[in-house]
Structure formats: C-alpha cells, structure tokens
Amino acid sequence: MLARVADNLFWMSRYIERSEHIARYLRVNYFSSLDAPNEISQSRQFVLRSLLFMVGHPVKDDSHVEETEVLYNICLNPKKTYSIINCVKLARENANSSRDLLSTELYEAINKFYHFVLNYSTEYLVTKGLYDFATHIIEFTAILKAKIRSTLLYDEVYAIIKLGLNMERATQVIRIINSKYNDIQIIELKKEEGVLVAPTLEWDTLLRCVESYDMMRRFTKSSPNSINTLDFLILNHQCPKSVINSLLNVSQHVQQLSDDNKPKKGSTAFLVNKLYAEYQYKYIEEIEVDFRTFIETILEKLVEISKKMEEEFFYH
C-alpha cells in the first residue's frame, strides 16, 4: 500500500471515530441534563461548558455562552476545526484520496454520511433537530464501521483503518473521561461551598457517553462511583471501549503491518506494546490517586505513538 494512501486511511478512520464520540457526548450530556436531579447538572451553562471542554475549547472565564452558538459550532460550523461537519468533511476528503482501495459499499456509505451532514439545516438543528442529528451521526458511524468490518479485505488497508479507529477511540475515551472528571471536580467544589449535590449522576453520564452504562451495571452489579467507573472504562478487558482494549487492538494491528516478530526498540510496535504492558499491570487506585497526571501522560504517549507511526509508515 502507498505510504501516502496509508496516511489518508489512518486519518479517515480517526475522523469517523471522532465524529461519533463528539455526537455521543453531545447527545448524552445535553439530554441527560434536562431532568438532572440537581441544579448544577441541570444548568444549561454547565452542560454547554462541558461540551466545549470535551472538544478541546474550554471556556476559561465566567462569561455566558450562547446555546445556539455552541450547538452550531460543535455540529455544523465548518470554520470550527472541532465541529462534526469538519470531521466528516475530512473523513470524506481522506476517503476520496484512497477510494480505489475502499469497497464501493464503504465509499457510498461515507458519501451518504457526508451529504446528510452537509445538507442538515442549522435552524432545524438548534430548534428541533439536535437529538435527530446526533443520533444519525452515531448510526452512520456504526454503519461505516460495519462496512469496514464486513466489506474490506483483512489486509494492511484494514489494519491501518483499524489502527486509526482504535487510536482515536483511546484518545476520545480519555478526553470524555477527562471532561466528566472535570465536571465532577466543579460539583465537588460546589459541595465544599455548601451546595448539596451528589456527583453520582455524572458517573452515570460518563458511562453512557461511552455507551458502557448497561454493561458496567451488569459487570459490577453496583452503582457507578469513581473507582468502578474508571476501572471499567480504562482497565477492563471485557469493556469493548476501554482504553486497554483499544491499546490491545492497536498493538495487534501494528503487528499486522510489521514483518518483525520481535519489534525493534523505538518502533511503533515497540512503543504500543510497552504502553499496553504497562497498563496491563496497573490497578485503578494507582491511577485515581493522581488522575490529572494519568490523563496528561497517556495522551502524551498516544501522541508519541501517532508521530512514530507517521514516521515509520507514512513518510517513505
């Protein structure tokens, strides 16, 4: 496979995955807040700020944020690098540059996705269509992933696409955890100020944002709290979206691209396996005790792996 095309495929899948996580975070947070049991979680400003935090544009002061503007920016504003429309455009642009390698079924599904987003009315979105829009994004991305799994040859093209999906999934799940963790910190602060609130709802919301609420309940048979939620989303091998599972997938797909059974020191496979091994033997209390450092470190390491991949596979 051409190095340039591998780069396109890697980013195509990252943008598909990214659009899904943004849409899901938006839908779950916005709609679960509508009947939230406490004033803070129900506050529009709280939710909108959380959305902006998740997409990497946190509001740093106390200024008022306009709801329609935030929703438009996150969903349909092509000028915002973090918007869903931008992710979908870039996914399709990357697919266009490598469309000869994609199945017709997958390419048509990407196109349908693109035209759906492109033609979505802004007015409808901010007045009536938020749930519909976010749900469609989630469903379209599910279709795309099914097409990837069921119509592509399981060769290096597939491996690159899956690498992109899993790298992005690990990154986005960490970003989502970080955003909700940040929300919980805000609630904790309010608690110190004497406001009576329980942050349990935010742990619920966090699990739902990663589509893991039902399975986590089945697995732990207890109410979500910081330890069991973080453990499930970061270290649990049975949770399909856990960070450790994404790392395992990345490791397996990198191996598919490499001829060496024993990865060379400093290679992508070496870095991924090292990170995976490290988390295999971590326990959640270790992470929870200094959660900020964990977030910073793992995001840095994922960026390092991504850079190494570009160097090793994309720039021949």
Binding site: M1, L2, A3, R4, V5, A6, E93, N96, S97, R99, D100, L101, L102, T104, Y107, E108, N111, K112, H115, E156, I160, L257, D259, F313, F314, H316
Partner: protein, 486 residues
C-alpha cells in the same frame, strides 16, 4: 406519437432531423416500444421521483464535480437522463468493426511516424502537417514501445446523421475519458428502472476494467513475469479523478500520484508502507507535457522526474504512449480514410465527415466564403472549446471568425454542419421529454495480440434546445447506452 402519455404530451418531432426514438411519422420505433410502454405508466410525479432517485445515486456514488462560488464550494452531478439509448446488434457490429479498424490503423500510423515515415515519403500525408504539429514528440523517434502499441486506449466520437449512417467526428487517443460514466450511468439506471432490464437482452459494461488490466499486462516490459500495473492521476482535484479511482479499483491496482513514484537507475518505484516497490506498467492520465519535468514541462509537479528515461530504457510501459497526440489532431483526421487504406488495405468501415483543411489554399477559400454553412474547429483543442457553428453566427461574428482563421490557417479545419440525431430526453424545467441532439463516444483497447471494444458507449446529450455541442464542459448531459445482444 402518443399524446395521451403525459411525459411526451409536448414532444414535437422535427422531420428534418433523425429522431432515434420516433420515426418520421411520429410512431415509436420497434426497439423502443417496450421501454416507451413503461414510461406511459408513469405520471410526471412518478418520473420526477425516479429522476431524483437517480440523482441521489450519483451523489452517493460520489460522481460529482466541484463548482466554486464566492464563499462556498458546491458539489454537482453531471446531468443524467433516464431514457436509455438503444443500439441493436447489427448496427453495433458495424460500429465495433469500424472503431477497431481505426484504432489499428492509428497505431500503425504512429509507428510509421516515429520510424521510417513511409506514409509521408509516399506523399499520402503531407510532411508539413507532421512537422507543424505541436504534439509530435521528437523524443519518441526510433523508439519501440513495449508490445508495439501506442494507443492502448482510444475514444472515438461518432454521430448518427440524418441519412441514418454513423460518422466519425474525431479520434481521441491521448487520455480519452468518460468510460466510468458509461458504467455509472448503467448502475444509476438499474437502480431507478430495474423493472425494464429483464425485457431487453443487453450487453454488460462491467467487464471493461478487467479487459483494461489484461490489455495493460500484455504490454509489460521485457523480463517481467507478473507486471505491477498502476493508474497515474494528477490528483483528487482533477475533474476526472473519479474515473481514475474507479478504474484503479476496478482493476485492483494502485492509484498513484506523481509524488508517490520515483526513478532510480532507470527503474520506476512507488513508495509503499513497506518501502519501494517496482512499477512496470503505468496507465497515465496525465498529459504528455506533465509526465516528466526533466524532459517536458520543467514546472510540472504532477509528473515523475526521470520517468521518460526509464520508459526509453524499456523498464516501464506508459499507456497511452507519449506522442500519440500527433495522430488525433483534427487536421490528421482528414487523412484517416487514406491512412486506413494505406496500412490495412481496407476500405474505411465508418464514414468521415468531409473536412476542409484551412492550410490548403483551395479549402481555405471555400471555408472563408461559406462560414455560415460550416462548423469551424481548432485542430488541437478538446472539450468543445473554440468551436464556431456557422449558422448560429451573426454577420459580425462571421467576419471575426474569418479573421481568426486567417491568422493561423493551420490551426483550423471546417466541416459541413452535420445534423446530429436527436433522442428523447427528460427536461427538468419543462417536466416532459423533448428531443435533444446526441453523439456517442466508444472505447477501444489495443494490446499485444489482444483487442477489445466496450459494448456500449457514452451517449452525450446537448441539453439546450437546438444546441449541437454535447461536451459536459459546455452544459451537456449523458444517457445509458444499451447494445442489444443477437
């Protein structure tokens, strides 16, 4: 004509033109009866729904082009018409033999032009015509391309005249495009009108890519067992990019850009994730001038430095060969009947439109006196650009055209205004079918000891009433083209 059919209620037959669907009495022709009966069942609303469905099919397949506005870029589809053109097997046999004959003759002509030039020595084609052609590449002189093939892919433009005969309008043997539309038109029509397909026995169009790959493999360089073929595209912003990616996918080969290739020791390699991989056959969709900045246009960023040297060393095959443009020049077209006779010792199967060559004194005089009855064409332009249709020009415009011709007579040819046949075409603004002029581009492949003609073609439609220029760049659309089995 059946005026009870809402979609054809305002259809008017012009007896001076050949209507492929209705005869001179306004009755439906035999071959179209079944499909016409189907349309009779449709209300205008039904048809609009089908039309929208077909359009969506093009959007979903990603067969679009970009329109750049002030603030935003819009994607548009090339207009597609739901009424297919049907060609019966007898008529097709004639066309197929004719276009194959032309392709073979053109290949022999190119070989001769770049070697002994016997056809010039014998006075059949004037030397001045070749010497003055911007598309004659002296770099190709004496070179033998792999398999002896120059024009691996030919696109031949035909029209059906009022006399019922097919005439060749021009040969395209540089980078003829449009074949992907033939296949996508079929896909879109099948999706919209699936019920009609079992009523006709139609040749498939899906075998084109496989035949193209087989043809490319026959012209592999010496010493190569299983050649690595690629399609070379200028990139994603090229208007034919969809076609390039379609063909690469159809053949299961890589679609490369110039930046993906490099030349080392006169061998061509592509940059893969596992390092360099040798390339043996390149179906290039980049014009001669841009393929290698070391030999041709030094400013080209689309090509590959050293590619031509690797080609001359026999280590890679380029399809079509560089320098084929000299033979599809519209001035050479005039000599095609003689070229066919000279190399194949056969009578031309397809007719040529009589052509006046402005570089000849007597022809020039005739053209200048009869511009109002002629179509004036520049010899080296494509896409319908620079064409003047005499009977559409004002007196002032005629004088302007005369001045342009007189400035560079070699650049122009003239032909009688041919009455292209018309075909029933759905006009969205009118919400009904109307007759519109059509032409036909066929696709012929030539390899070493192998040839193939796609049993269909691109029927292009001039969507504006009375317009004779069918090119998509001039607002043309297209139709699915059915060739019936015996």
């Amino acid at each position: 004509m059946n005026k009870n059919t809402p979609l054809f209620a305002t259809y008017s037959c012009n007896t001076k033109l050949l209507d492929e669907v209705f005869d001179s009495k306004g009755s439906i022709r035999e071959v179209y009866k079944t499909i016409f009966d189907l349309y009779k069942e449709h209300s205008i609303v039904d048809f609009e729904t089908l039309n929208d469905y077909a359009k969506t099919s093009f959007f979903n397949q990603g067969i679009t082009f970009q329109v750049y506005g002030n603030n935003e870029t819009k994607e548009k589809i090339f207009p597609f018409d739901l009424f297919p053109r049907i060609i019966d097997h007898k008529e097709w046999e004639h066309i197929e033999q004719g276009v194959l004959q032309r392709s073979k003759a053109l290949n022999l002509f190119l070989e001769d032009l770049y070697h002994d030039q016997n056809i010039i020595k014998e006075g059949i084609v004037p030397k001045s015509l070749i010497e003055s052609s911007a598309n004659y590449l002296k770099e190709m002189k004496g070179f033998n391309p792999p398999g002896g093939i120059y024009n691996h892919i030919s696109g031949t433009d035909l029209i059906k005249h009022a006399d019922g005969n097919y005439y060749v309008l021009e040969d395209n043997i540089r980078c003829p495009s449009g074949v992907s539309y033939v296949i996508c038109n079929r896909t879109a029509l099948k999706r919209a009108l699936f019920g009609v397909f079992d009523k006709y026995k139609i040749h498939t169009v899906n075998d084109y890519s496989q035949n193209l790959l087989e043809i490319l493999e026959t012209v592999k360089p010496k010493g190569v067992d299983k050649p690595n073929c690629v399609v070379l595209t200028p990139g994603v912003f090229n208007s034919a990019y969809y076609e390039h990616s379609y063909l690469a996918k159809g053949m299961g080969v890589e679609l490369v850009e110039g930046r993906d290739l490099f030349v080392e020791d006169n061998f061509v390699y592509m940059k893969t994730i596992n390092g360099p991989k040798k390339v043996d056959v390149i179906y290039r969709r980049i014009d001669d001038a841009f393929i290698d900045p070391e030999v041709f246009n030094p400013d080209s960023v689309l090509g590959v430095p050293g590619l031509f040297k690797a080609y001359k060393a026999g280590n890679v095959c380029l399809a079509n060969a560089p320098g084929t443009g000299v033979a599809d020049d519209k001035a050479i077209y005039t000599y095609m009947p003689a070229i066919i006779k000279y190399y194949l010792n056969e009578e031309p199967i397809l007719k040529n439109v009589h052509t006046y060559h402005c570089s000849r004194k007597e022809d020039l005089d005739y053209v200048l006196n009869n511009v109002h009855n002629l179509v004036i064409k520049p010899v080296d332009e494509a896409g319908g650009y620079g064409i003047h249709i005499g009977n559409k020009l004002s007196k002032k415009e005629i004088e302007e055209v005369k001045a342009i011709i007189l400035k560079t007579p070699r650049k122009y040819i003239a032909q009688p205004i041919m009455s292209l046949s018309v075909h029933s075409t759905y006009i969205e603004a009118e919400k009904s079918f109307e007759p519109r002029h059509v032409d036909l581009r066929t696709f012929t492949l030539l390899g070493k000891d192998k040839s193939y003609v796609l049993k269909s073609g691109l029927t292009r439609v001039a969507l504006k009433r009375g317009n004779l220029v069918v090119n998509s760049s001039q607002g043309g659309g297209s139709k699915d083209t059915w060739v019936l089995k015996k």
